[in-house]
Symmetry: C2
């Protein structure tokens, strides 16, 4: 018999709690697993011995259904970067102490490429120290920028929100008789996956977005203004999708840097809005989809949520197969009908790496997404959950604040 622990890390998505449900459900089925601990605020909970007993908090199937439709991380999150253990193993010793004290034989870390760095380092440290604790990574990120895996849990729901909202913005922006430009800023620091996914509207007969700019291509303000003028000659209401991460002159990005050296970006939409106002002089608006694109569970993708749960479950099976230092990944084995299988890869293949849009997803002009990208994106946004409502609003699963303190 052994206990296990699970933690959630990095930026919120709609699917992280579904992966937690996957780990939890599978662990319940396994006779060799006893207690299922949740670590509060990612790896910080393990470091500080702040664990909660998930079996006392998630009691019924209804609880699990609610968790599946609850955005963000029910156990809290962190942005904590482990040092190299060869340089400083103080934190590693704390982690080991908690895990041994709680008789934890496997630790599951749901997170993005930073968290997979933790999975990699921790599993290497345990190997080095001959400690038999499995460490398995469950991927998640709305950015879809993890290597090896076909896509990441959380991305499909974010893409569905972005596309559905973009379509509504198309309707909203088309009402007046005067020409207008609407610029929609989408998350994505270095990779344009989420911005590119808005092109699924083209498969539904929409001409918008008329222009799509992703960080994979150099951005020129002059070319942008020329593009906008060209589209204005064809369409009364021009819709532009732009990644927050496109490179524009310095000073636009706020420049605050987090623990991983990431800049908190903002203001690209506003910057382009000002440029259109000053240089073209037409009606113009910019819209930042902001955190809504990562937490709008009310319009999550059922495909995404189901897959997020399945990949969490598969992680437990993987650990029980004596594997460690692995990250669970999707491989798409068939396009039509869309079919994926779950496999594993070494965490080192994913940690700190980024996957960018393939060249052929971007049109030669560099300002739109090509048609053959659509068959990649469309399956990921299919299906809806039957959202459980209360008083007219989606119900959420929540753990009392006092329990998490």
């Amino acid at each position: 018999m052994m206990n296990i622990a699970v933690a959630q890390s990095g930026g919120p998505t709609c699917a992280i709690n579904a992966s937690l449900v996957g780990v939890f459900k599978e662990a319940l089925k396994e006779s060799q697993i006893d207690a299922i601990f949740g670590s509060v605020n990612g790896i910080e909970g393990i470091i500080n011995n702040h664990l909660v007993d998930l079996k006392t908090l998630i009691r019924t199937n209804d609880d699990m259904e609610l968790l599946r439709q609850t955005p963000s991380t029910v156990l809290g999150s962190c942005r904590y970067k482990l040092p190299e253990y060869k340089e400083d193993d103080t934190v590693y010793k704390k982690i080991l102490k908690t895990l041994e004290q709680r008789q934890i034989g496997a630790f599951f870390y749901i997170g993005g490429n930073d968290s997979m760095d933790t999975v990699n380092k921790l599993s290497e440290y345990f190997r080095q120290e001959c400690v038999d604790i499995k460490v398995i990574g469950i991927p998640k990120t709305i950015d879809n920028d993890l290597c090896i895996t076909d896509h990441t849990p959380g991305f499909g729901s974010a893409a569905k929100y972005v596309a559905a909202t973009m379509r509504e913005i198309v309707r909203d922006s088309s009402v007046y008789s005067i020409p207008s430009v609407t610029i929609v800023e989408v998350m994505g620091r270095h990779a344009g996956w989420l911005t590119a996914s808005s092109a699924v509207l083209h498969a539904l007969g929409e001409t918008a977005p008329h222009l799509i700019y992703v960080p994979e291509r150099n951005f020129s303000l002059d070319a942008f203004l020329r593009d906008v003028r060209q589209e204005m000659a064809k369409h009364k209401a021009v819709i532009v999708a732009v990644s927050e991460g496109i490179e524009v002159p310095e000073g636009v990005q706020s420049g605050v840097v987090d623990n991983f050296g990431h800049k908190y970006l903002s203001g690209i939409g506003k910057y382009l809005e000002e440029a259109v106002r000053n240089e073209i002089g037409c009606k113009v608006r910019s819209i930042e989809l902001n955190v809504m694109q990562r937490c709008s569970s009310h319009i999550c993708s059922k495909t995404d949520i189901d897959e997020a749960e399945a990949i969490g479950s598969a992680g437990v099976s993987c650990a029980l197969n004596d594997e460690t230092g692995k990250v669970m990944v999707f491989r798409r084995v068939n396009e039509m009908p869309y079919t994926v299988v779950i496999e594993t890869t070494n965490a080192a293949n994913i940690a700190n790496n980024e996957k960018f849009l393939p060249d052929d997803f971007i049109t030669p002009s560099g300002n739109n997404i090509s048609e053959n990208a659509l068959k990649y994106f469309l399956p990921l946004i299919q299906g809806e959950l039957n959202i459980i409502m209360e008083q007219g609003l989606p119900k959420h699963f929540a753990i009392q604040e006092s329990v998490l303190k």
Copy 2:
């Protein structure tokens, strides 16, 4: 036999097309009504004799169902202010020419208080000129600031979006262990209805929004920072809802003025974000709900959409009862169960007037919404449409761009 015309005006909402369906369906039933014309871009379509035959565009019940779930104005909109006819009746003569040429006996104008100004002026002009054309106003606005009526079509869906999104933002903002402030900017130039409606979360056990600022109360930056500090002592993640229309120092509002003298507001959220960053120094984010709060039909309120259709239908009956210069209004006749009846009022009572939050909806401290406001808001956000999907996204009804040109 007579023909009728219907037009949509002002800012988009989720319910304007449902009111169009209401007018259309009711007119189909009435044997004395022949052609049903849609005016393209509000009153501008009448002025320029740009009408479309709605019976050829809306052909099936499925079309009507799609229209009910399509945000914005399928016929386009305008922000056109009629001059006083005593000063200049040129436009009035153009309008009359179109209506007479098309044998239109009744004109239905779906819009906000600016459009009700048009209803008022036009019906007075027709009376003056002894022309028997009825003019009836169908209210709509997410601002909920029309007088006489209990609430306005479009508001319930906007409120449902704001509250559902606010709840998701609460989950999103609560994940890290460090203290944070999240400021959510909600539409509302002078009246705080939509911002106040976010308080429905309190009826669901949420402590957020912890602070709610509406334009009905004077705003002081010092008091705001003191309020935030007090809430930070109680909650790790403080959520603030703020109306775009609260009065802050000059220069924050962009100051562009539309035809009605309205300022296009933006930047209050960013302004307060900067204030918190500079004065308190904690993690802080501002979120502008932007046009999503008026066009997110994917999470519209069924109560709102059904009522919007019903009030459109009632408008047709009103005109056939020989009334003119009237606006259709809701009167709430019972709290529990929530029951409304549809009545009429003179357009002059609504035109150019604004209705503000009652004093007892706002807490004495002026920085939150009182509990007794919740029973007003909650019924308006109840129920969901069975949204028709295509390729994973809500399907929209659209009229070909060429038809509307």
